[in-house]
Symmetry: C2
Subunit: 349 residues, 2 copies
């Protein structure tokens, strides 16, 4: 074990209380003593035991981020942003990675035993059991879900509908006859991307039954690659919108291997604005989500609830927005205006 306060005090021929007060800068200690204490503490490299301090003061142990750490890189990017923000505000961040969303409730339960100051759940879908919820309330631990829906929790949501709407309009207005949506989520799920696509079709008077969906095995580079290869064996493709940038790059490669050119033959749009998309060949038109802002909001949400535990649950929303690059360009100003034209209905949601 390390040096304890008592030992330090004994060496100085003082009591532990005096040393404690001297180190924490409390008034009522002789300046000379404070100096003497600080000097020896520095020299001996005394570091207070945070467990004991936390136990006594009742303060928690910082922020815990529970995250799904699988393929989509954007999850990791959000976790990283949460790490930075969380360190700023809570000083200390623990990351818990889950293999499967099913483990969420158990993980929260275990984490609660560590008396964290707050919990942020990143991209893990799932619900919490009643006993876990009760314990959260009892301990007054705020829990914020970022980019995922957990009932009865504060949440930070990234609104994908508008960005997707614009992306789909871009494809349609560029002349794509059969834009395809690549996804590995169940197609009957209330996916915001899908809603955006539907809205885009409707806004242009197109039959929504023309929306074509390509199911991917995984939301990864390979998943996109293989889905596109498979799709090309069955039908002609002139435009595609993918669930994320990894799949988009995979699809891009599949197209190139078949000799199809992007954007001349096929327009391609991704999602997430991962760093590599700007330097791909061609660079990827994609829908950017504000990662840092969302992380800041999540941490701020924790702070707000700690200050006012009784406030009603809230949701902070951030819009993902279309970033036009080479893989699906905007050739004319007229086209640009048409793509970014916003219907009232979408603005309210």
């Amino acid at each position: 074990m390390g040096l304890t306060l008592k030992e330090l005090a004994h060496t100085l021929d003082l009591s532990a209380s005096t040393v404690s007060r001297a180190l924490s800068g409390q008034p009522g200690i002789a300046p000379k003593t404070v100096e003497r204490v600080k000097a020896l503490a520095q020299e001996l490299g005394y570091t207070p035991d945070s467990r004991a301090r936390a136990l006594r003061t009742g303060q928690g142990e910082g922020l815990v981020v529970i995250s799904l750490f699988t393929a989509p890189t954007i999850y990791a990017m959000r976790t990283q942003a949460l790490l930075v923000e969380g360190q700023n505000y809570f000083g200390r961040v623990q990351v818990v990675t889950l293999e499967s969303p099913a483990a969420l409730d158990l993980a929260v339960c275990r984490v609660l035993g560590q008396n964290p100051q707050a919990i942020v759940i990143n991209a893990v879908n799932g619900d919490l059991s009643n006993s876990t919820r009760r314990e959260l309330r009892q301990r007054g631990v705020p829990i914020v879900a970022i980019d995922t829906g957990i009932p009865e929790c504060d949440s930070v949501r990234i609104d994908r509908q508008l960005g997707t709407y614009q992306a789909a309009r871009l494809l349609l207005l560029s002349g794509c006859k059969h834009p395809v949506f690549f996804s590995n989520t169940p197609l009957d799920s209330p996916d915001a991307r899908l809603r955006g696509i539907i809205a885009a079709f409707q806004s242009l008077g197109r039959d929504t039954r023309d929306i074509r969906l390509a199911a991917c095995q995984a939301s990864s580079l390979r998943g996109g690659y293989e889905a596109m290869r498979h799709l090309m064996t069955t039908s002609a493709v002139d435009g595609a919108f993918c669930y994320n940038d990894e799949m988009t790059l995979g699809a891009l490669r599949a197209l190139a291997e078949t000799g199809l050119r992007v954007p001349d033959d096929v327009r391609l749009i991704g999602f997430d604005n991962l760093p590599f998309t700007e330097f791909c060949l061609p660079s990827l038109t994609t829908v950017a989500q504000p990662v840092e802002e969302a992380a800041q909001a999540a941490v701020d949400c924790c702070r707000a609830r700690l200050e006012n535990p009784e406030a009603p649950m809230g949701t902070r929303r951030f819009a993902a927005r279309l970033l036009v690059r080479e893989s699906a360009p905007l050739e004319t100003q007229a086209l640009r205006e048409a793509v970014f034209h916003l219907p009232e209905s979408l603005l309210s949601d």
Copy 2:
């Protein structure tokens, strides 16, 4: 605050000690009592306070990973791998991100107050002060440096020399007259990549003064892009080896914008084997480092030192190996054999 042991005991009309023993399965408690205790604990959702427990038992608080979370994605990938491995063995992982290597000593010092079971330093170059070292010894906290050199510490090293040697040979044997090494590290630093390149030049009887270096502003996509653009204004390029894959993709784009083809006009090799490299156009020949293995080794290194604190400091090495893809292909079997020919001198280091 949550439910405490004492409260639970009072509800059961028992003493805290009995409840504690019942829950931890110690002998000497009536089976009926154990059952009653466990039932109520379950129902009320009792979770022991890990701070108090850790304080009493003297056990630490899991693993702390200190990492530089800046541009190169490979850092984040290693952190992720450490997270998974650390959770497996220590149950609990805290991540501390540093803005600058200069903050390392202070960060370790702060972390020590949390009595962690072990510390892993990921990719942060720097040294520790004597007082910090003393405290590490006093507390018996193992500290392992992964992919970075900290004097007098266990370490896990990724040997880049062999992979780089092979990469440079591939460029030279493919007929590159002026291979360029893109890097943003000081050129006089004892960089393993540079040593590998020098060895490759020597192995083929080439004058090492022909080694050309391109200094990059940053080891990022844009850094590589701009360095390549700048290089092309001053001289002809027919082959390049970049410090990491991000820079390589940036350089690739710069080449393409100028109309140069890869690999026909320019051979390009990256480093890290980031996921996107496999699906780029062309896919990137790169040097892959074993991320998961290194993370496993780091955690195992902590375990070993906890078991045997007196063992001499050790270094576990993992070799990065060349992965040939399209951006610098191996056209013939003879070429393949020549590239992968290993000199004795390199095998020993």
